[in-house]
Symmetry: C3
Subunit: 354 residues, 3 copies
């Protein structure tokens, strides 16, 4: 039983703290950069097909990857697992995660070919290859900071050089919709380059309503400028400092939720797990034509709001939002800060008949 | 009984969905552009002088209108009903609205002369003509999106050309302070041009406190630049994209709540219905000298906060805020984001003796 | 018993309103600019070593002061008591404050030498002299606006010229973490120049958890540009209007919480009293490696959230935030709007072993 406290760990209010030190080492690994059954590509969320708590062995390697964030606009992203946002991890409150990450930023890694083992993530990326992922190389120190974990940041979130691997534990002490990201300075740069994603920690006792559909949406800003050398784009630090994004997207591409809209039927309850990854902006999250029946702020079932037209999320706030699909038709999803919607923070839900 | 479900409608958790399709047609109408007894000019709110639920027949036509947002600063606004913000609609949770809108953007409509029929809106605009409304013509496709409605956005919120009329139903399924606005792309442009206003849906069972005074405040940004042709101003899309407003106002003019301050007496409970219409900015809403005794976030009585100095509203968030007037004197109302207050997001409440 | 209503005062819902008029006068005072036992320098919070309610006699004089906000970056700040942010006042819900303020902006006042009488504030500034305070002169009208007070703003918050003194009462009707600031136009300028600080009003019945450590953090933006005359820096109004800060700090210096980190031990419950003073920006407040076990929005014990990774604060919002220190190590504290963290909105908590 992983809920047992290991040597040196301690419990406060039912939460486990004092986890073992991170281990940094080198390994001879060239397998899939994403390993774990509960890791999916946005907007998918893995089903928790087990009862109670368990330990998850999860790998997300750092790799550079050329991706598109708008038609024809590609840049060399720094990523977890090869997509921006990275894979979504789903666990249950109380679960333990044994996390492994190799910094493979110096190695061209292909994520668009079938992998044995690995994770549902790959097949889902391949089914919806909107970022047109291509291997790239960009050697750089990196790190991993899970907002879902409660640990000494200087230990678990430490930076490792290209070629190194880090392994550490974290325990999902609090339910929520969390951000993970690289915490290596300049953090503004590392996150704007693409190193972030979502962890969903479902509450032990579940939510008071039952959803018919569940989707994950990660909002984020890109700060890109033309790159005369590559013919593509590159990160623009001055624009990032000025909060002047070139694109704001849901799920990493201005058309991600237009080319592959979310699906539901009239009368169904749709549950959105929304993370605003920033790196700097807020999101005034809204579904045109719908009202959120329930909102759990930060994804914690104890923080419930009712009847919300719009949910304001700070940089690295999450929320779970339920709405009833009113009728057959199509519904736009937007950041109602329209200067951001205009930059791409928009998607579509298509509803079939009841 | 309008709560009866019409053919094809269905109920989920006591809410009515699956409303009849919108009807788009042409009509020979040149009557008042605002029709309905429960439509008022800001900061007024109509009294709900009926018990239970009813059906409201409401008209707000789209008209172009030259208005001022600061002394001498006029531009050709796109409006609902001729003012910016447009009329405030007040209904009760569970009410049904049969809404009609003619796109009369190609027709100079006068709103400053007495109208027979129509709505209390006109007399209230004429009593406080701070925007100095003048008829204008600016033919353009437009649409209407009520955040208070739960409907298929592609149907009810569809765009209609100049000369066309649209009619549709919506049901006030959730109490709240809601935004309505034009949803025609560029939505940033159409809203910044002036096409927005508030709907107040009062909760069925009312609020737990009783207010002595009630006022509606709509905050919004304007993005205007000098127009060499007209000698006035015009919408500046680059400024809107850069989130660099020329004015931020309460109720559509930098002096709206200074020239005609809100009124109350010491010891009274004042209730504000506040909408932040954006189109892009947040509001850190504050009354200088007061603390909000109760705040209902989004205007939903189930989302109660106590003892708030400042209420942060995202773009298209609303709230109901109660405060006790501490003593005789005057109280400024501000967006405490002082760069916005400096641009005009300020007003005054004048309190008489107890 | 100060809870007795004085002549002319009245009670609504247990709160006291209708306080006596402010008194403006001249006095021959050149004593310590900060007087009161419950006034401290950030991040300290005074202990409330009394039961029930009392009356506090509090002085915070306005003085100009040359301070540094980053290594070598000094400017002539306008301050309450000589530091930016000014002293933190701690009282209990129901307490009365008799506040006195002399506008000594025309007088060079030294705050870095031992003072007889005065307040714990001085010794704390001298123990951590990171702003390198130097007396300065900058004669200017000023005022004081306590968000914790419920009074006629035109009376108590009135502007007084250099040399004048104002005295008024306010009663801590609502618990919370409040901003105080100068309210003299341009308020954007007066606050950006340094005139703000925090008041903590602890709830009568306390919080449901018991904290092992308590710290006060005030976030604020500076808008400075090089000043060719002084060789230092000066306030840049255009940058303030454009929301383009030169620094964003916790407790008034980019290194305030690095050079003198917050301290705690693994397993302890740390309570942060956080105020976002703006003057314009929001804060997405986050502790790297921790999750907030409890958050009381605006510092009011009735507004409780659980399990928050990040707390979004508008301009002049406050909050009380508890977290358990997970293990020995170090934890960065940031505004997770990384463009602001990059400008200095970062600090450190160092945790010892359990
Ligand atoms: Cu990195
Ligand atoms: Cu909208
Ligand atoms: Cu329009
Ligand atoms: Cu204020
Ligand atoms: Cu001042
Ligand atoms: Cu983070
Ligand atoms: Na945004
Ligand atoms: Na909507
Ligand atoms: Na604003
Ligand atoms: Na106030
Ligand atoms: Na900020
Ligand atoms: Na954290
Ligand atoms: Zn697993
Ligand atoms: Zn981080
Ligand atoms: Zn936004
Ligand atoms: Zn009616
Ligand atoms: Zn819309
Ligand atoms: Zn604002
Ligand atoms: Zn005292
Ligand atoms: Zn003020
Ligand atoms: Zn910020």
């Amino acid at each position: 039983d992983d809920r047992l406290v290991h040597d040196g760990e301690f419990i406060v209010d039912g939460k486990i703290f004092g986890l073992p030190e991170a281990r940094v080492y080198t390994e001879d690994y060239s397998g899939p950069p994403v390993v774990g059954g509960y890791l999916t590509a946005v907007p998918n969320l893995a089903e928790l097909d087990y009862e109670g708590n368990r330990t998850h062995e999860v790998r997300m390697d750092v790799i550079a990857q050329q991706i598109e964030v708008a038609p024809g606009k590609f840049y060399n992203a720094w990523t977890f697992g090869g997509s921006v946002p990275g894979p979504t991890l789903h666990v249950r409150e109380g679960d333990r995660v044994v996390f492994t990450m190799k910094n493979r930023s110096d190695e061209p890694v292909v994520i668009t070919e079938p992998v044995a083992g690995g994770s549902p993530f790959f097949a889902q990326v391949q089914a919806n290859p909107i970022q047109n992922n291509q291997p790239a190389v960009s050697p750089m120190p990196h790190s991993m900071d899970f907002h879902s974990g409660t640990v000494a940041a200087n230990d678990k979130w430490q930076t490792i050089p290209p070629g190194a691997t880090i392994q550490f534990n974290w325990v999902a002490n609090y339910p929520g919709v969390y951000m993970y990201h690289c915490g290596t300075p300049s953090v503004l740069m590392h996150t704007a380059q693409g190193q972030y994603g979502a962890v969903v920690v479902s509450p032990k006792e579940g939510f008071p309503t039952e959803a018919d559909r569940e989707y994950v949406l990660v909002q984020s800003e890109f700060y890109l400028t033309e790159d005369e050398y590559s013919g593509g784009y590159r990160y623009d630090h001055a624009a990032a400092m000025a909060r002047d994004p070139s694109q704001v997207t849901f799920n990493g591409h201005v058309n991600a939720l237009h080319d592959a809209p979310l699906r539901a039927n009239a009368g169904e309850r749709v549950r959105l797990y929304v993370l605003n990854a920033g790196p700097s902006g807020t999101s005034s999250f809204h579904v045109i034509g719908a009202i959120f029946d329930r909102v759990w702020y930060e994804g914690n079932v104890e923080n419930e709001w009712r009847g919300m037209q719009t949910v304001l999320l700070g940089a690295s706030n999450g929320a779970v939002m339920d709405f009833i699909v009113p009728e057959q038709g199509s519904y736009k999803i937007v950041d109602h800060e329209f200067a951001d919607a205009e930059r791409g923070a928009a998607g579509t839900l298509v509803a079939g008949p009841r």
